[in-house]
Symmetry: C3
Amino acid sequence: MEFTVEQIAQILNGEIKGDKTLKVKQLSKIEEGTEGSISFLANLKYEPFLYTTQASVVIVDKDFVPKKTYSPTLISVENAYASFTILLQEYQKILSNVKKGIEQPSFIGKNSVIGEDIYLAAFSYIGDNCKIGKNTKIYPNVTISDSVTIGENCIIHTGAKIHNDTIIGNNCVIHSNAVIGGDGFGFAPKADGTFDTIPQLGNVILEDDVCVGSNTCVDRATMGSTILRKGVKLDNLVQIAHNVEVGENTVIAALAGISGSVKIGSNCMIGGQTGMTGHIKIANNTRVTAQTGISKTVKVEGLVLGGNPAIENRDYLRNHAYIRQIPKLEKRLSDLEKKTTNE
Amino acid sequence: MEFTVEQIAQILNGEIKGDKTLKVKQLSKIEEGTEGSISFLANLKYEPFLYTTQASVVIVDKDFVPKKTYSPTLISVENAYASFTILLQEYQKILSNVKKGIEQPSFIGKNSVIGEDIYLAAFSYIGDNCKIGKNTKIYPNVTISDSVTIGENCIIHTGAKIHNDTIIGNNCVIHSNAVIGGDGFGFAPKADGTFDTIPQLGNVILEDDVCVGSNTCVDRATMGSTILRKGVKLDNLVQIAHNVEVGENTVIAALAGISGSVKIGSNCMIGGQTGMTGHIKIANNTRVTAQTGISKTVKVEGLVLGGNPAIENRDYLRNHAYIRQIPKLEKRLSDLEKKTTNE
Amino acid sequence: MEFTVEQIAQILNGEIKGDKTLKVKQLSKIEEGTEGSISFLANLKYEPFLYTTQASVVIVDKDFVPKKTYSPTLISVENAYASFTILLQEYQKILSNVKKGIEQPSFIGKNSVIGEDIYLAAFSYIGDNCKIGKNTKIYPNVTISDSVTIGENCIIHTGAKIHNDTIIGNNCVIHSNAVIGGDGFGFAPKADGTFDTIPQLGNVILEDDVCVGSNTCVDRATMGSTILRKGVKLDNLVQIAHNVEVGENTVIAALAGISGSVKIGSNCMIGGQTGMTGHIKIANNTRVTAQTGISKTVKVEGLVLGGNPAIENRDYLRNHAYIRQIPKLEKRLSDLEKKTTNE
């Protein structure tokens, strides 16, 4: 893709200072600019890079006045940062609209209804009785099992696996090799030490605007539903066990593990590699630092937690300071013992 | 799928109180019942839900006497809990028997022998010289490399990858996107800081009744075999390194990492996000709490471990209590110092 | 594959003592030898196994003199350990050269250039404008999106997903179900608690000799590149976030999570389940023990770190010893208090 400076200035309602015929091929940070790239200068901390950058074009604020000579063409706009974000989004939109239609060989089962303007890539599989909403894109090597419903404007990235009876809302993104609706980990111990497998007959529901990271697993419920509410964002390699419910706009970072039947409130931020014991509840607006282990229900909203077993993070950090004091305490105690004995 | 109350009562040898012609489409917990669902009441703690549930049918114990009016049709049986479990298993059986035959396009290499009544889905790949036992199901986008042996009644879920020379017993379940038999992580450091790759020429053996979770990795041995014994159950996103051996009926929860050549005994329960250093042994019946780090052999059977480096879990929890005492100790010490000085 | 003892002796320039016509089918450790396998004896600690092994053939050092009767055929060589390594590598080479050519159905997009002697398996997908170097192998169910460049002699194992604009050098190995170039986890919070998705428009660059483990994720940069330098080795289930840079010959063990924009130096060894907070730098030659949490830049080279928050590992271990002293300290303090009171 290539754009001229003039085309970009028109999109951004900006004014050009320099060569209008320059062509732009990619976006870059000003400190990493290369020939053919467009960058921006919003925070004046980065101004020195304007005088050294290799970027061909730089978007600047209307009132910006350069102090030295510079080589890029400038586009002056009302708000350089906002304008660059618009460009990012336009670029993303163009990229993601390239794919359309149904490639062969692909597989569509019986009684499945496919919306308008979808992309279904080669080697992707849709089972029986599915509904796929309009403008949804399904990349190669995806499997969508029987009786799955997917809304509009979703992106199912390459290799994602969506198991039967999953319900996915609109504007969801499922990243590569994520597994939605695999069986929960349920085994009933028997007297002889072996296990009976407990059938996992529920499903997974993702509401609108949910994002599931690459290689992340969201297990189906034993009965009922595992639910990710509107706007939940999961990073890569996260484990969501059966019957978990995650509240609206909660964000969970990579490699976190949420055990069965946990209910996490809305607007929480859960750090990477955090673990939660089964059947607990986490209040709204809880923030959990990375590598925390939570084994009890958190009732108070807005806490910041750390450590295993989890406590308030400031206490966790304070405890580490305490531990370092132990040798000094021992020395003082020892001195005192000697003194008392000597007396 | 739909059943009438009469059909279900017949399966369970139960007696119907209410509308025999009602149709049931799914199973639910009594507190989450919806129209068309069947539920059960075993623990009387849940009795109040009987009077409010939306479930169409509820299975109850023979001697149960309702105290208020209720709307669902009841089926009275010898043991409501056991009957519901039977229904779950019947339902699961029906679901899992829907798929049969060989879909196209699929790929079967040279000299591979496929058992009777198998399901091989589209976009699944079987290499050369494989043996697949009867009644085994292979879902879409699975790869089974050369010289793999898989027993009877196995389920290989969508996207699982089974590398060459793997041997899988009967009644095993490999969940979506699991990787069995990938190369172990073996590199020999050279004087210049680079590494030689150590060829990984062994294989993986899964005995009967093994379950491997979604996105879990079981690496092939350098030489010899990585072995999961009869009845081992691995959750999602678990890492099993080369030459590990896991004993019968041991259960490992999500995101645990077992380093190379570890030997875990039988009937152990390993918590989520636990890590083990290479070349250690873990005694039978060991229980490991979540996020534990084990770096030494555990010789005594039946311990419960926690912390990193791991100690007995009660000591780990006690240590946390100790840490919280440090400020108080400091205060007492300080008082004593003052007192002694003042004397 | 089968070799005679004579063929092997010729490769290793060794001398045979025993049956020259024996056939060898696999390699084994001497303590795990089976009929038809070849093993080696280098460390004399293992000599007793020579007299009991089931291996058909054992490679020994030229000057080795058996003390008892033994049953295997021996091959005497200059250096038994080195010779066995040569055999391992030869065997690996033979195994990995079996696959050639383009299987059907596979998919190659527009304007993509495929090198000589490549293997492209069935159900694998190459998008538009890709370049794949000669002698590279692409196993089944792989997806390579648009505008990807892959060098020579690479192995892309089954199910790996390589997203658009990724650049991969020569001699790289991408293991099964790894995801390279998925979107970074970038969301800008809005006033109402919901998030805007920040477009991820950068790419991933893997230099030569990089190895990426099974189910590992390497996210594309927001802008610019996420970079794994020459010789980096990642184990399974590792998370590398957007804009991370990992230095030459650094090794990262399973289930580690590296947050956005971290710069790790060269020749580091990062233990399993370790986590790093975003935007920090790690000096060259740093060693990080398993389950460590690093939240600050490490400036000094060559440290060994442990704990969360990370400190030098010897201090971390010492702190645990301190904690165990607390009850004793309390006892001493208590005694002293009594004594002082009694005086």
